[in-house]
Each structure stands twice: as C-alpha cells, then as structure tokens.
Symmetry: D2
Subunit: 452 residues, 4 copies
C-alpha cells in the first residue's frame, strides 16, 4: 500500500457505470482508489461542482515533428493538447514517415524531451517491405497507417500488400488505421479538374468524392472480413460510409468508424467559400443540418466508435501562400475537439458518459491502452481532467496554442471549460495555461511491443 500524494475531493467522477460522487486517490502517478476514505494526502484538490473525467485521448494527430516544424512541433502540439484536457495522443506525420522498427525507436528517443503529454506513435505502412510492417508493429507502433491513395506524399498501399500484412500479423491483434479514398477516382478527378484549370474551393468536393471514399472502404473492408485484420476507418465523412462499415461488422469484420469534428459541424458550402482554409480530405460533405444530425445520431448509437481531431495544422500564411491545389491539407483541431464535444455533452446532443467513451475510453480500448488509459479505476494512470460544466467560453484564434493560431471554429461559444489537466498525478495545465515542460510526457509502446 502506498502513501497518498493527491486526493481529488468532491467532484463527479464519470465512469462507464455512471457518475460517482466521491474522491479520487492518487499515489505514484496511479489511481489507487476511488471512494470516500479518511486518509492523509500530501495534496488535496477541491473538485466541488466539477466533473472529474479520465484524461482525453486523441488518437489521430499530426505534430510534424520531426518533419516540418514550421507547421507544428511536439512542444507546441502537446501543450495545446494538455490545455484541452488531452493527456494521450497517438501521433504520426506524413512529412517524416516511420516505416521500420529502428525509425520508431529513434523517433521515440528523439521525442523523449519534447512532449507535455503521453504519446503513442503510429507507423506508416512501409512501401518497401511487409517485413518492415511486421517489425514496426512488434517494436511498439500503436497502429499501422494505410493509405489507399497516394496523398500527402504517402504512397498508396495495394490491396495485396495489405492482405499480405494481415496474413503475416494474424493472431497478433495489429490495428490498421485506413485513410480510404480510391486512388483511381481521385487521381482521375484531379487530372480532369486541372485540365479545366479549375482552381477555386469548388475543386475539393469534386476531387475527393464520396464515391472514392465508399469504394476504398468497401474494398479494404472485404480484406479485413476475409483475413481478420482489425481496421479503423479514419475520418468517416458521411453516414453512407458508416453504414458500409456497420454492414461489414454484421458480416463478421473487425472494423470501426472514426470521425472528426469537421464532419459534425462543417458544411460543404464552406469548402467552396473558404477554399484552402477548409481544405482537408475527405472533405466536409454536409448539405444541411439534417445531414449533420445523421452523423450525430450515428455517434450516439455507437455506429461511430470514437472521435479524433485529425489535427493537421498549417498557419494562415501557409494556407494562403499557394493555389488550392498546392495548399496543405488539414485543419488544426487539438485545441478545440474537446471543447466542441464537451459543449455537445453539456447541451444534450450526447451524454457526458458518451463523451467519455468517444474521446477517452473507446480509443483506449481499440488501441490497447485500456484500462491504464481511458478509465479512472484503481490501477489506472492518474490522468484526469477537471471540467466546469457551468463555464462558457468563446473559441478564438488568440487562444489557439497550436502553431496554426487559427481555428475553423473561432467565434463559436461553447458550454463547459477544462479547468485543469493532470497527467499521472501531476497538474500539467490549468485554465488553458500549460504548467508542465516538454518531456513531462512519456512514450507509450503499442501492444505489439507488449506481446499483444
């Protein structure tokens, strides 16, 4: 038994059982108990009137470090995470790709002193060798990123190579995060649009069609169904994509749907209007509030498994300095995803327990971190967030800690605020001020490195 370093008193602890009104006891960075006990503690935090939530987990971020530090780096990205209540990120960058076990180890070492929050690292599917894929999983990659199309400078993975990897990694519970857009359709559309010299925001939805997403998801889903590989479909943009995934699951495939705030809040019209500032792919496809409502329904009823930000920031200058074709893809999101989802939870679109599932428990489960992360049970890491449900704040560019310094959600007023973020028992942020230095966060090897 251990001495208590910290006790959080009087908050509402959200677990999958429901809300427990009690204290959280922390020792050596772990939750050692929840309940009401009279034990001396080195430090007492008063959480009266606050929610005590498991630290948020954003499993899809690009911090560009190493790679392109003009867009983001780990110190800035992970600081933004901490301020937003995110205590674990899973990171991968297309600018500097990890294909081999050696590269993974090297990147983890390089980042040893660069992250404010805990982090896992994903690998890209190696263009060179399926052996690389097998090895990088065994070395601790959290997931293997697969592109079905050549995008962001990442080479498309052919069906046969993905199938080969699934066969080679059978029985080892490897997870693939699939960016699904059909190469043939997107490449052809690009050629046609460029031949017409079209260069406004309107090229985006034509270039990156819903059909391309449907074809890729259906194809990869068949491979998963036949070979048993666990597949998360990244950034599902439309209800019909989620429906395909649900059908595959009914047929026995181990598949999940990820979505992002951009598919829950933004409209296709904005893409046309704001061009590069809404350039991300797959693009926002909603024509109406009803379209967005259909996505929220899928989020509520469990057909969408979790939410991530797909944080892929660029500065205003970077977004503006090139044609619609050359402008970087992606949105900043790590600063705002929790704010948007908490607002939804506190205004009734989802429950607070569903919030915890979507942005903490479910990514923890799927990526092998649960119950160390994603829960507040005895034995869990003492990663937790104090949320004031009564606060209101407005998202503003000035408060964005990412190097992007802007957000597509600026101006939106949200209910609820992250008051403090604790990582393994240490307060790392308070009222959007980051208290902990880079290096506070640790590398979390994936399940393959733990015999998973």
């Amino acid at each position: 038994m251990s001495n208590i370093d910290l006790v959080v008193k009087g908050g509402k602890i959200a677990t999958s059982h429901g809300i427990i009104e009690g204290n959280l006891y922390v020792s050596s960075g772990r939750v050692v108990a929840i309940g009401r006990l009279d034990v001396p503690a080195a430090e007492v935090v008063d959480a009266d009137g606050l929610f005590v939530l498991p630290g948020f987990i954003d499993s899809h971020v690009h911090f560009m470090d190493p790679g392109d530090l003009s867009r983001e780096d780990f110190p800035t990205g992970s600081a933004a995470a901490a301020a937003a209540g995110v205590t674990t990120v899973i990171e991968h960058s297309h600018v500097y790709q990890i294909h081999t076990a050696e590269q993974l180890v090297e990147k983890a070492e390089y980042l040893a002193n660069r992250s404010v929050v805990d982090f896992g690292l994903a690998a890209h599917f190696s263009p060179h060798s399926v052996d690389d894929v097998v090895n990088v999983w065994a070395a601790g990659a959290t997931f293997i990123k697969v592109f079905t199309c050549t995008t962001h400078g990442v080479q498309a993975v052919e069906t046969a190579r993905l199938a080969e990897a699934m066969k080679r990694l059978a029985g080892r519970d490897a997870v693939y995060l699939v960016h699904g857009e059909d190469e043939s359709l997107t490449e052809h559309a690009e050629r046609v649009l460029k031949a017409r010299s079209q260069a406004d925001g309107g090229v985006i939805p034509q270039w990156r069609s819903l059909l391309a997403e449907q074809v890729a998801v259906a194809s990869v889903g068949m491979v998963s169904r036949a070979l048993g590989g666990r597949v998360v479909f990244a950034h599902c943009s439309h209800p019909s994509v989620v429906e395909i995934i649900s059908t595959l699951r009914n047929w026995g495939a181990k598949v999940w749907a990820e979505t992002c705030p951009q598919y829950l809040y933004l409209f296709e019209d904005e893409v046309r209007q704001f061009g590069a500032f809404r350039k991300f792919t797959p693009p926002a496809r909603a024509q109406s509030e009803a379209d967005l409502g259909a996505m929220w329904q899928l989020l509520r009823d469990g057909q969408i498994a979790y939410v991530a930000s797909d944080h892929a920031p660029s500065t205003r200058e970077q977004k503006e300095s090139a044609s619609i074709w050359e402008a970087p893809f992606g949105l900043p999101g790590i600063d705002t995803t929790s704010a948007l989802l908490l607002d939804a939870a506190l205004t009734g679109r989802i429950s607070i327990l569903r919030f915890v599932e979507l942005y903490s428990r479910e990514p923890a489960r799927i990526y092998g971190l649960y119950p160390r992360k994603g829960a507040l049970l005895p034995g869990s890491d003492a990663d937790f967030v104090l949320v004031d449900p009564s606060a209101r704040r407005v998202i503003r560019d000035e408060t964005i800690l990412s190097k992007a310094k802007w957000s597509p959600f600026s101006g939106k007023e949200v209910q609820g605020a992250v008051v403090a973020t604790y990582l393994r028992g240490k307060k790392v942020a308070e009222n959007r001020e980051v208290l902990a230095p880079p290096g506070s966060g640790r590398f979390l090897p994936g399940p393959g490195a733990r015999g998973g």
Copy 2:
C-alpha cells in the same frame, strides 16, 4: 469521511469495466472505496484467489409467506438465498396476492423480521381497479405482475385493463412483469385434454403450448409499443419468444426477456418422464442440446436481459400427492440458480462479467435498484459475494435449504462455490451455512415510492 468497518483484500472485484485487483472498503454498510489504500479497518477479510462479486439479485421468487407456509416461508427462502449469494430478492406470491397500497405496506411490515436478505415486493395487477394498480406502484411495489391467463388462481388481465394502467402510469416508469400465455389457447387445450382423461406428464406441453406463449407476448408487446409501458416478459421458454421481443424492441417497445435455468438446462422429455416434478409453466421445450444452445447464445448476446429462478417450491409430498392436473406448478430454484450460472461462467459458456450482468446488474437496472444494488461502486450497498473459482461441488437434495428439500438439478457437479455472502457489510452466510437471523434483511421500496 467515515471509519472503515471492513476491508476485503486481494480479491478480483468484478465490475462492468472488467476485473479490478484491489481492496473493497466498507463503512456503515456501504462501499466507501475500491482500490489500494493504507487505512485502518476494524476487520480484514482475505479474498486472495477469490472473486468479489456484487450480491446476486433474484428478481422472481415466490416465498409463499404469507400464504402457504407448508411450501416455503420467508425465513427459509431467504436463508437459502443468502447461502447461494443472493442478497436481494423481489418476491410475490400468488397464494396471498397484493393488490392495494395498504396490502403492500402491511406485507412489508409483516416481513420486517422474517427475511435474511434484502427484499422488494411485487404487486399483482388488481382484478378490482386500475386505481389499485396506480396506488400500489406509488406505494413501492417493485413491479406489477400481469397474467394474460388465469393461472395459479390469478385472474387474467385483459388487454384493455393493461392498456388503461399504462396510460394512467405513463411517465412514471412503472414496470410490468408479464406471465404471457394466451388464455383462450390454454383453457381450450385443458378442456380437450381433460375430456380425453389424459393425465400423464405429456399433458403439460400440449396444455401450455409455445403458440400460447407467442400469442400473449406479441399482444402485450403491441400494447407496450403503443403506450410506452416498460414490460419484462417472465420466464421466456424458447428462442422464438425472445425473437419476438427483440423485434418489438427494434420497433421501439421498452421490453425485456427474462429466462430461468429450467429453460437453459431441462428438456421437454423430462416433463413427460417426471410429470409433476417437472410441472412448471411455460414448460421446458428443448428437444436437443442445440435447442438449449440457442438459448445460451441469446443469453450471451444480450437478447435475454437477465436470469431469475422463478423459485416456486413444493415438497416431494406435495408434488406427489395429486394428479398431474392438481399438482402444484413450479420448481425450487433459489438454492441452485447461482451455482448453475457460476458453473457456466467458470467453464466458458458465459464470461464472469456476463454472469454479474445477468444475475445482479441488469435486474438492478431494470427494477430501479442500481447502483445501490448490482454494483460495487463507492456509494453502493456493501452486498458482495466471495466466490472460489477452483472449488467443485455436487448439488444434492440434502443441501437444499428451501422447504422443498429437492432440486431438479440434484446430482449435477458444478465448478465454483459461494464461500461467503455479505449483506450491507455483514457476513450473512459462509460455506452454505446461514449466519444471520431473519430480520437482517430490509424492505426495498420500488421506484414509484421514491418519485421514480
């Protein structure tokens, strides 16, 4: 904060999150914490190698008290419950029916010193007045028992009267436990069989047909769907009945399926062979292991919500002393249900977590007792059971504590044993010996009495 009366150390605490290896801290009869803390406790229980499970809940028992004490009474029935790890029962007896709020209060008072374990009391749907139904719910009945057929001396409830009650109780979350067999079909079959002077065990399946059950369930299900009343269908005997209930739920009805060990273990052939000793209704319908397997599959995948014993005992003499027509319906079950289900959990038919859901958490949720009962969270009642997964024992008539003194499962060897049962922090049974006197158990008013 309170002093710790009891700490259970070193067990595997089963929660819906999974298994937590930690301690359980009890004060004033409640769980005050789970985890590992160094706090002084008046008493320490070593649970090394044991499961620590939430106290079992048997929501469908008949203790015949008041009514017919020759068959059972609360002291014997609740002692058998305690020995089996059941810390809460929901009781109702057809012999002495509760129709009014006054009767409910009176029965609760009468039982104040007669139960070893905590108990809720159900009411029968009043043959006199829907006002009675409304009032008895408000007075704290756990559920309203509805018969669609005139059985066990209970009058059938017509569709219109059930509908009227649902309208009157709308918005008050009343729960109806429905014994569904179509009156017309069972009454007619009885007439035909008696006209033939048929009097062997074979009359049972013809008298109480699957069709009668299907018709009643479909009819009541339609009423529930239209009027929003919450309905549990008692003792579902066949997969097709569960399928009807699932379809109703997909159509928006708030309906659940209950089943009992007799539909998971017994065969129709036994009914023919053993006559009165297998007379219960609806009867066992399984023709083969595959039929039983289909029920287990529904149990695993959640289409069956929970299990109860439907304990309705008679002594050997009572079973033998009358014709097949006059012999009492029912089986003793409170002694054996947990043993059978734990065996299934420890030999892989269901998981230990699914066991906890089926015989503790789900009845607690459906009947408004959760999370005070059905969980081991800070704030829950300290009702828990220590289970030794490595023990083996044989069910024998001599070990039956119910007045029945026999069991249809006698001779069956089971994996696992209930080592000790705690009710609100007090040990009430140990190694099948009951330690607590009648009166240890308290009445649990239903949600209608708590503004539910």
Copy 3:
C-alpha cells in the same frame, strides 16, 4: 377447336408480361387465343386506343342479400359492379350469416337469378361448431370470415377456436379473411366513451384504435405462423399494420394484407367532421398526405397484396337516422373502387400492370380463381374490361348504382373510364349502363369444393 364468337381487335391487352397489342378471341365464353389471326368471328369489337384488361375482382363486398335489402341487394350491387368493370365479386353479409354447408348451398341457389356478375360466397366462422367451418369450406366457401371482435352483430372468434379450425383444415389450403380489432380494447373504449356521453364523429378513432388493430393482427398472425393457415388481413388501415404482416411473412407465416380506397384517400379529420358518413372500421387514420403516401408505397412495392372495396352501403337516410353509435358501419365502394385505382394507374401513382395485379390477378390467385379469372390467357373466362385511358369523368352521387346513391368520393374528377364490361364473352355493361339482367352471373364454388 371452336368457332369464334367474338374477337376484340386492336386494343392493348394488359397481362403480367406487359402490354400485348393484339386481338382477343372468344369462344363459348372462354378466351381461346390472343394474337393476330385471320379467323372469322361472329362479332368484332374495335378496341383501338383502349386497354383490354382482365375483368376486375372485388373480393370483399357486402350485398346484404338475403339480409337487409333496404341497404343493398344482389341485383343492384352486382349491377353497380358490372358498370365499374367488376366481373367477379366475393360476397358475404353480416346481416344474414352463412355458417353451414347447407346455408351456403341454399344461398347460392337463392342467388341463382339475382347477380349480374359472377360471384363467390364467403362463410362466417361458425359460432356453433368448428365442424361447420370444415364443412362450409368443403362446400365451396371462398374464404372463412373471422372477426376477432364482436362487431356488426358477428361474434368474436377466440384464438383457440381459430387454431382448432386451422388444425382441422390443415393441408386443405383454406383461407381466412380476418377482421382484426382486439375485442377487449374496443369494448372497453366503447364503455368509457359512452359513459362520457360522447356522441360526435370523434368517438370513432378513439373507439376503434390503431392499437386494437395491431394487437389482433399480431395475435392471429402468430397462430397462422404456428399452424400454417392462410390468412388475409382485411382492410389494413395503417402502414404499421402492414409492417407487422410483412414481418410475420418473413417469419414464415402465409399472410397477406388487403387494403381499401378509404385508407388510400380519406383522412381521420373527415371522420370527425362527417360523422356517420365516414363511420367504418377500422377507421381512416391518415393525418397527412405523407401518411397516405406511405400506404401507396406499400401498394407499389407489393407489401399490400390487393385492394377491395369493402362495399357496405347505407343510404343517406340510414346514415343520418341514428346516433353515431347506432348508425350503420360501412361505405359504398363497388361503384368507385375501379375508378379511383384506374385514375392512380393513369396518372402515375401505380402502373397499369400493378392495377391489374391489385384488383384482378392477386385476389384471383389468393382465392383460388386464377387463371380462370384474373388473367386473359387461352382457357381463361372471357371476362374483360375495355378502358379508355383518355376519358375524364367526375364521380357524382347521381351516377352511383348502389342503393346508397352517394359516395365519399363524389366530386372527385378521375382519369380513365370503363367503356364496356364483358362477362364470359357477353357484354354486360357499356358506358355505365348495365345491359345484362340479374341471373347472368354464376356462382363460383371455392377451392374446397374442387378438392383444393
């Protein structure tokens, strides 16, 4: 080979294959050929620009003869049928019920000289004896009418008696037409409404609720599923009822949904407004055009099997002369059903081929008349209708040939007109004038009399 009595030239013959442009050759009252042949014919009919459709079949009419000739009789009702293109009716009257084989034979003999068109006769489920039911089927009843509620002076059939009949008639393909409204719910609602002295049109929808219909259909459907009896649910009033029937069919029950124009065109509001003039049961339930649209969709996609008029006329005086409680149930419909459905077919709501299925082929198939009736194939009876698709007419009370002399559809302008009706090769009506005397129509014994 036979001499040709009649050839119909140049029309569009609608078959389930599609439209054939060719001639129809008739000899001795039968179609002997379709095509284009140069054969001498005693008579030539020019059908240029017209559809040649199989004679319409209205399988649910009440001509009150014998019974209450003040409301309708066979000469008037069958004349109205002939004028509307209906060459076969299946008749039954609640006023004078047929329970036994003897009664059926007697009624058929009585009607030998009273019908302009061919007719089958249904029997009522006997309140006296299931033997009667077996015998009346064997004597040639087209279907057995079953009421689940005591309505129109017809006694409700208990589930057990229906089940017994299905067992007794197993393998003999008997068909039951079920008027499904739960007795308990309707009887209770009546008592409550009368106790309030409510007496406006608004009592109808409360008295005859959708729930009552759902409960009855679900119950009888279960019986059909278990025992294999073929059941048509009469006058389905709402999409949810049809959905229950479709689910039962997916589960293996041999069940069909019938509907009537009143559920495709009339609104619940009219019932409140017009009282007795919209008193029929189940009542019109549509709240909006969208509700009606849902019924049309079910009609198009085959979930509703066919349409009948449920012709049950009363004169204006009869409707007006009593309270809402005492006024007779029912609408006149035999004059107008074909006009309304042809209008739908010619304005695109359904196809002309679907019209033929709904009001000719499908009732012929279900009731064992096909392909003698319901088709225009060599060997079929030469019952056919010439329809002018370009004509327009207005439905008016003055043109109603039924004794009712009014229609709920008066004032509606419709596309298409029945130009001539032929029964077994003889023209029986032309331009709404009836040419043939009563006695032209023959009795069609049901399949039970033909060893079916």
Copy 4:
C-alpha cells in the same frame, strides 16, 4: 392479319403465368397467337406430351471467331447452341476484341453468314478511350464487358474509367458485364506461386481467391450504386458474392448476379485433381454438397438473376499442351447448360417456370431483348424449343458439337431432352442434329442502337 405458316399443337406452353395447354401459331417468323383456334396452317407440329419453351438465351459465350478458330468458330459454336435449344447467344471473344463502333459493325457483317442462331455481340471496354465505349454502345453492343483485372489478355478497367463511362452513358441504360477479380490480389498471388515454382492444379484456387472476387464486386458495386450504371456480375462463384450483390441492390444499386453450371455442379477438389481441365476463373469453390445447395437456393429465390454457360472451349490437346499457368482458361458449356438445367427442372431442384426465367426470360429482360426474345407472346419471335420431359440421356464427349469435343459433365445422365429447336419459325435442329446452315441466324443490335 397473316397466313399461318406453322401451328404447334397440343404442347404445354410455359409462360411466366404458368403452363398453358394450347397451340402456338406462327406467321412470318413471329408468334401471332397462342390459344386454340381453327385456322389453316401450312405446317402442323404435334407437340403432344412435350413442353413448348421460349428459345433459350445464353448471354455469355465466347465463339473465338474471329480470333482463334482452332478453339471454336461461329458455325460450330452456334450449331452446338441450336442443338441444345439455344436460339440466341450474346457473344464476345477476348482473342479478338471489339472496342469501337466500326469494329462492331465489321464483326456483325463478317458473321452474317456464320451463325446458325441469332446473336448479339458484346464489346470490350476500350483501353483507348471512353468515347469508344459510348460509341460502341450506340452502335448496338449488347453489353460492355469490363475486366477489373488483366486476364485473358484483356486489360483491367480502372475504377475511374468505369465511373467516367457510367457518367457519359447515364440515362441510356447501358449494361456492363463485369468480370470481377481484384487485379492487385491475383497479380500478387501469381508472383508468389510462380516464385515457389508451384505448377499443379492447386495453384488455381490460391491464385484466383474468393477475396479477390469479393473486393472487385464490392468496389464496382459502389460505383454502380453512386452513378446508376446497370451492372451484371459475371460468373458469381460463391454465395458470399451473391450476398454482397443483394446488399448493394437493397441500397439502390442496379446490379444482378449471373452464375454458370460450373458453380452449381463442380467442386474445388476437381480443380486440384484435373488441373487444366478445370482451369477457369473464378474457379469452382464448393467444398461440399451443402455449398452447392446454397447456390441452388439463391437460384431458386431470385438472388441469382440468370444462368449462362460462359462457354470458352479448348480441345483436349490445347488443355494438355501447356503448363497449368499457360493452359487456356475456360470450359466448353454451350452443349450442356440447357441439359443440366432442364434436368434440375424435371427432377425438382427448380421449377420448369424458373428454368424459363433463368435461361430465357431474365437474360432477355436484362439485355433489352424482351419480349421479342425470352417469351412466347403474340409479337415475339417464334423461337421455341420442344422438350420431352420423359426422355433420359447421358452427356458424352462424342455428342459435343463444340470443337472442344469434351465436357466436364460427360458421363452424367440427365432427365429431359431437347427434341427440336425452332428459330423464327424454322426448325434449326432436331434430336441434336443441326438442320440449318450457318447464316440462318441474324445479328441483334443492342438497345443502344434502338435508342435504348
């Protein structure tokens, strides 16, 4: 009206209505009437005891002419067709592909004197230009053949090119026959197997996997669903492929499943055993009679739309003269498909009416030939087959008229025999002897050439 050239008397004419016992009257090569009329005819055929069926339609044959006349040519292939009751074939050969309108016209002219039966011609999707595809459809190709993989020397069609064609041909009801196997998976498997120097029959199922078929069908299905193009999936080899197609259809795609006798009768084990003599792709996948039974069930219930032979013959010498890798793909089938399916119809596996749908009506409908072909209605071409249901014969290599001179079904005894085949009123074959010379058959331009 015309003089009657031919009357077929006394047979059972199978239509989708059922069996009509009557005569078939033919004038100038067309059916002019069915029925019983006393008209003089130049010729009378006695069909007493025989079925009179619409001429069979084999919509997937390869006659290799022009191309590789050592394997087959139109005179031999179409003679074999005529002997088997096939009066219409849709032909395309990979050896000599049709990509342009000019090539189509030229091939049709070349074949003017080479076919015994009527024929449509399919085109291959042009590797050069989508304009070609549009033009060849307009010129009268029956369908556009699409390969998703590079097989038989045909280049794979990328998703984007297929999508472009569907957009360009939108509203013109073009039909695509898709050979669906994923290029990436088959190409990769081939490389791996060759690297291992594997060269027995066992390479076939590994090379041409079920997964490859599933991936291709799902991908193309998504394109069809999004863009509305009508797609027939050729030679579906497995129930799971048909299930994907049914799901796509439920989602609104206009898609159909074709299968062939090899997927209804042959086992995967034979492929291993007989090597090149069972080399066709997708290969036979059945492991057991139950697997074949599942395909027959899909055939019966309509999920498989029709059957074709996929006749792609080679002589024994051609099959034997090369390695398993180099041996030609394909089986002879035009001689035997009708015999196998008629046997199934006469021994109860399917009904005789379902036979007519599968091998005549449905391909006629899908490919725009109905009701000129695929029916025996007035106006239809007088293509018909007399079948003796009581005959029995044994399929033998010696009776194969195709140049292949062997059959995988040799030795099988079948019920039923084609007694005579008539094409547009002329007898072209009798008792497996071909009476008509090449040139008797006419070219049938596709619907695109008729403004379809």
